[in-house]
Structure formats: C-alpha cells, structure tokens
C-alpha cells in the first residue's frame, strides 16, 4: 500500500478529476451554474483532453529513469533511420555534381597512324567545347591493360597489339546537359578516323545503381527501425498499463469506455515519440556537424562544390511528426489488445 499518498498523487492523476474541479475553487460559481448545459459538457470534454495531455507528460517526468531509457533507445533507432536517409540524400547530391565531369572516349580506327592521331588530338583540343584531351597510344593502352586486367602473361603472348589508339576528351564544365554531350559525341563520331565515340557515363550509371540499392536498403532499414519504435513504445505502454491495472479495472467497473481509458496512454505514447524524435534530430545534427569539416576538406581536394546537407525545416517537422505517429500507433496497438483482456475480476 501507498505510504505517501501526497507524493504519488502528484505523479498519477489521469482519471482524477481535472484540477479545476476542486471543491474550494468553484464555490462562488455555484449559483450561476444551471445544471450543466452543452457548453459545460464541451468544456468537460476539452478539459479531459488537456488534462490527459499534461498528466501523461507528468508521469514521464515522474519516472525519469525509465523514461530516459526508453527515449534513449527510441532516439537511437530513429536517428539511425534518419541518419541513413540523410547520408543518401548527400550521396544523391554528389552524383548531381559528378554528372558534369563526364568524359568521352574516342576509339580510333586500326589504320590510323600515330601521326594522324596526334593531328586529330590537336584539332580536338582546339574545339571550343573541349576542356582537355589526352592521347593513349596503343602501347600505353596495352601496358595499362596488362597491369589492370590480370591477363598480363596472356597478353604478352600476343604477336600484334589488338588495342586501338584512344583519345580521352573532357568536355567543358559548362556542358552539363546530356543532349549537348550526346551532340558532341555525335560530332566526334563523324570524324573519319574515329571508329567509336563512347560517352563514358557507365561508371556514373553504376554509382547511381549503387545508390538505388542503398535507397532500397534504407527503405527496408527504416521500415525495420520504424517497427522497432512501434514495438518499444508498445512495450513501454504495456508496462505502464500493467502498473496501473487496478486503476484501469476500477475505471472499467464504474463505466469507463475503452476510449476513456486509452486516452492518457495514447498521449503518453505520443509524448514518447515526440521527445524521441527531437532527441534523434539532435543526435543526427551533431553527427553531421562532426562530419562536416572532414567531408568538406575531402570535397575541396576534388575541387568540389559539395556542401553537407542537414535536415531542412520541413524534414525536421516530418521527422518529429512521424516519430510521434509511430509512438501513438505503438501504444494504440497494445491498448486495443490489452484492454480487451483486462477484465474486472
């Protein structure tokens, strides 16, 4: 039994009459009150909600240890999910920039001599759309192939060099549009010495497909972490419900609907989700701040104009709203299930 009712009373006052119903306060109002009309009932309804909203927060504060533990776990789960999301967003930003550094490889025809190739190189360098062009001779190409392909000895056994001369063209930075690049590629293709002009976007496509995989993985991860948040909240609410079982039963015995009993617990779930969302936001933001300086050093090494993206205003609101919603869903699920089973003995 409770040794110090006064203290516990402050912590637990959900089904309790809202404060303002204290007898002393409304003494002087009694005469003007005519049996409680619609307005009085509406006020009562609003008061119940307001009361449940704040008393559920009061309960969290009243048991700081378990609240902090729960919120910490939830915040870590949410920050993992949202941190992963933010990393992906940054990678996407990265590929947007990389698109500008696309190159075109010109594979020259077999019969083209070295001298003709260097003349071609000169003319390409003079093209106003070209930033830079380099020539890779047959021998250089073979060397590279030997070292990087792993077929070194096999290649050495070849009598003739099967590789063509290659000219690598880096278009001007201003050339970002895919159509323009393709027009340039087409222009090179027209040259009679060129066997094939290849727009080198393959690796970009690869990077993009890696990101697509990452997105899918992030989606799954977020789904799992979202479920974790729901389950953790559900379990927290279940424990809370269990510790207040007697109160729930008495409320049921005097005619409380499930909606009435659920209300303070739903608010508790909402608070837990809400606070965890805010804490997660801070965790991710601090992590990004720690990452910012090395990332920007890295980016400057590549002459990049890459700036780390943080949560925007809308994303912050979404993050917190989503965590709150997950908290409500978790507590709602457990309440529907448990309240059916909490039968008055």
């Amino acid at each position: 039994m409770n040794k110090n009712p006064n203290k516990r009373r402050q912590q637990t006052r959900d089904i309790k009459t809202p404060k303002y119903a204290k007898p002393a306060k409304s003494e002087n109002r009694q005469n003007s009150e005519a049996g409680g009309g619609v307005a009085d009932k509406l006020n009562a309804w609003r008061d119940l909600h307001a009361h449940a909203l704040f008393s559920s927060l009061g309960r969290l504060v009243a048991s700081p240890f378990s609240s902090v533990m729960t919120i910490a776990v939830l915040a870590i789960a949410i920050s993992l999910a949202s941190g992963f999301y933010l990393v992906l967003v940054n990678f996407q930003q990265l590929t947007n920039h990389l698109e500008t550094s696309t190159q075109i490889s010109l594979f020259l025809k077999e019969e083209v001599s070295d001298i003709r190739a260097s003349k071609l190189l000169e003319s390409i360098k003079n093209n106003p759309k070209v930033q830079q062009a380099t020539l890779i001779s047959k021998e250089q190409a073979l060397e590279e192939f030997k070292t990087y392909s792993g077929f070194g000895s096999a290649v050495s056994a070849l009598k003739t060099n099967p590789l063509p001369i290659v000219i690598q063209v880096l278009p001007k930075n201003s050339l970002t549009d895919k159509n323009e690049l393709e027009a340039l590629q087409h222009e090179f293709q027209q040259n009679e010495g060129v066997d094939q002009a290849q727009l080198d976007m393959q690796w970009l496509a690869r990077l993009q497909s890696i990101i697509a995989v990452g997105e899918r993985a992030a989606g799954l991860l977020n789904l799992m972490l979202g479920l974790a948040v729901v389950f953790i909240t559900a379990n927290t609410i279940r424990l809370e419900l269990h510790s207040r079982r007697e109160e729930v039963i008495i409320a049921k015995l005097v005619g409380a609907t499930h909606a009435f009993i659920r209300r303070p617990f739903l608010y508790a779930g909402a608070w837990i989700g809400f606070i965890s969302g805010i804490v997660a936001w801070f965790i991710v933001t601090v992590m990004m701040l720690i990452l910012r300086s090395p990332v920007e050093t890295l980016s400057s090494l590549y002459g990049g104009h890459f700036h780390l993206l943080f949560f925007g205003f809308v994303e912050t609101i979404k993050l917190i709203a989503l965590s709150t919603a997950l908290g409500v869903i978790g507590s709602w699920a457990v309440l529907v299930y448990q309240l059916q089973r909490t039968k008055p003995e």
């Binding site: 409770n2 007898p23 049996g35 307005a39 009562a44």
Partner: protein, 218 residues
C-alpha cells in the same frame, strides 16, 4: 427492474456455479442475497454488472437484456448500476473527492456539476469535510461510505452491494444499512449480498438464498 430467467453460470475450472436461477426484483425493492461461502453470490452479482456472462438463461435490467449486451454497450450499462464492494475498490492515490467524482468524470460531466453532485452525496453519506483526505487516512466504515458515495453519485436506479458490511462492526453495519434504506425509500432498487444472518434477520426484508448455486428461497 431486475429479472433473472433460468440463469446458469458454468466456469471451465469449477463447473456449474449457478443453476437455473430465476427471480424478479421490483423497482424500489430492497433484498438480501445470502448463502454459504461459495454458494455463488458474488458470481450472481458479476452477471448483473456483466463482468461475467451467463451460460444459459437471460437477465433483464430495466427491460434491457444484459445477456445480449454488446461489449461496446457495457460501460453505459454499468453507469446505470451502483456497485459496492467489500474491499471498497478505491483508488488509494486519489482524494475522497476524486474517487467519488470518477463516475461523473467518466460520464463527461462538467466540473461545476461534478462539484455540486459530489458534495451533495458526501453530505448524504456523512463525509462532509473529508473530501480532501486520502482513503488510507479513513476508517473502514468511512472508506465503505466513500465506496457507497461513488456508487450512488450518478443516481443509478439500482444499487448492488457485495458484502458491504463484511469488515465492519455491528454498529457501523447498521449505519450503512440505514443508508441503503434511505436510497430504497426514494425508489432505488437495492440488492445486498451478505452472510451476516443477524443483520439480515433484524432488517426483516426479502431474502434470496443460494445453496450450491441454486435459489432455495426467494
């Protein structure tokens, strides 16, 4: 007001606890439900509050068939009954005022009306001035009166009490009984489960007697 028609209750674990019970309590009647321990008194009362469902037969409260009541409708049925328990079932961490106000808060009354009704009922049960106390700071008889106040604050047409005087001395018991008689006099139906034979004899009221789940006198 309250009508049992061939009601049986069977528990999986203990078998048939009530067998073919039929009786009719008229509006404004006060009756005792008696019988040995384990006769099924509490079970019968639980059927009225739909804390348990009967296995056979039908129960009518104020014309409504309780045995067919939908789960969702049960809270509203319970608001029409005032239940009183031997162990009071009070919330220890709420004041007397809050305990008594609970049914009104649940029913959605505004605070003016809650205050008025709670004070009126506390006056009636003789707990004026105790509204800010906690249940543990009260004597058994006072706690039982808080329980009664909570049961009647919403003016239910029927009061159902399970061993309301089980823990009280004869003097306090008589006092509680007088309270029930007061309510009965204003038209409330009252059903009291008790095995306090002396008290029941003294009261000289209708007695429903259960023996191993069967009604042997009504």
């Amino acid at each position: 007001m309250l009508k049992f028609e061939n009601v049986s209750k069977r528990y999986l674990e203990t078998g048939e606890v009530l067998r073919d019970v039929s009786f009719h309590l008229r509006r404004g009647e006060l009756a005792f439900l008696t019988g040995h321990s384990g006769a099924g008194k509490s079970t019968l009362l639980k059927l009225i509050g739909v804390m348990e469902r009967c296995s056979k037969g039908q129960i009518f409260l104020d014309g409504e068939n309780l045995s067919h009541a939908k789960e969702k409708h049960i809270p509203y049925l319970r608001r029409k009954m005032g239940f009183i328990y031997q162990d009071y079932k009070l919330l220890q961490d709420r004041t007397v005022f809050d305990n008594v106000a609970l049914p009104l808060v649940i029913a959605g009354y505004g605070h003016h009306e809650i205050t008025r009704k709670v004070r009126a009922v506390l006056d009636k049960v003789g707990l004026t001035g105790k509204e800010k106390k906690f249940p543990l700071a009260l004597s058994g008889g006072e706690q039982q009166r808080v329980g009664i106040a909570r049961a009647v604050v919403n003016k239910p047409p029927i009061i159902i009490a399970d061993e309301p005087t089980g823990n009280l001395d004869p003097e306090l018991s008589a006092e509680i009984m007088r309270l029930f008689e007061n309510y009965q006099q204003v038209g409330v139906t009252v059903l009291i489960a008790s095995h306090d034979i002396t008290l029941i004899t003294k009261m000289n009221r209708r007695v429903l007697k259960l023996d191993h789940g069967q009604l042997v006198a009504s």
